[in-house]
């Protein structure tokens, strides 16, 4: 069964440190999404890519967050410098554009910034 793989599953670090989260989308999917889940906001869309090109990153704090797709099998989300308010679960999802296909989610990275 094809799955979206996210690493690490858990990350605890101190404020000010750089954090990198990685995602391997399902092979053949051409759209990759990054979401953040918090108690207050539910699932917020941070950014998404189509065929490795960024389509929309309006949900992302630009000053400290960056998202890239170095190749079709890897998407990264970086936070530098990290702050306690960034503590959340970050999900990656992938899908196939052009038809109403549901997005498939990874199991998330639980990030805690102390």
């Amino acid at each position: 069964d094809a799955r979206v793989t996210q690493t690490p599953r858990d990350k605890v670090t101190e404020m000010g440190q750089e954090v990198t989260m990685r995602c391997q989308p399902i092979l053949g999917h051409n759209t990759v999404f990054w979401y953040r889940q918090t108690m207050m906001q539910g699932l917020e869309l941070l950014a998404y890519f189509r065929n490795r090109a960024p389509l929309d990153d309006s949900g992302m704090p630009k000053d400290r967050f960056s998202a890239e797709m170095p190749d079709a099998t890897l998407a990264t989300l970086k936070i530098q410098p990290s702050e306690p308010r960034d503590s959340a679960v970050y999900f990656c999802a992938s899908g196939l554009a052009g038809s109403p296909q549901p997005q498939h989610f990874g199991d998330g990275t639980r990030l805690s910034i102390l």
Binding site: T31, F33, G42, L43, L45, Y48, L96, Q103, F105, D107
Partner: protein, 115 residues
């Protein structure tokens, strides 16, 4: 601005009874709607969807109803089982004008099914 709203944070139902989860949306451009289910420490998994050309879609114990005029959809689970206990997210997307695949999620409703 919350374009997709799930106004009930939680719902408790007895096993065997019907669970009804509700979702409201404000953007009339949305024409494709999905429900995702999420267990603790896992990612959301797709449950059922409906496009705006329909008002009902059924898959086993799960049925989604769409009322476009009221901008409201609901998920019915009949009969409810303890394994259905999870967080349920409603999501919406504009299909027309280019399918970007972008989904807007509600805040989720935690369903507890008691044995």
């Amino acid at each position: 601005d919350q374009q997709v709203k799930q106004n009930s944070p939680s719902l408790s139902v007895q096993e065997g009874r019907i669970s009804i989860l509700n979702c409201d949306y404000t953007n009339s451009m949305f024409d494709y709607f999905l429900w995702y289910k999420k267990y603790p420490a896992e990612g959301p998994t797709f449950l059922i969807s409906i496009s705006s050309i329909k008002d009902k879609n059924e898959d086993g114990r799960f049925t989604v109803f769409l009322n476009k005029s009221a901008k409201h959809l609901s998920l019915h689970i009949v009969p409810s089982q303890p394994g259905d206990s999870a967080v349920y997210f409603c999501a919406a997307s504009p299909l027309t004008g280019g399918n970007t695949g972008k989904l807007i999620f509600g805040q989720g409703t935690t369903l507890q099914v008691k044995p």
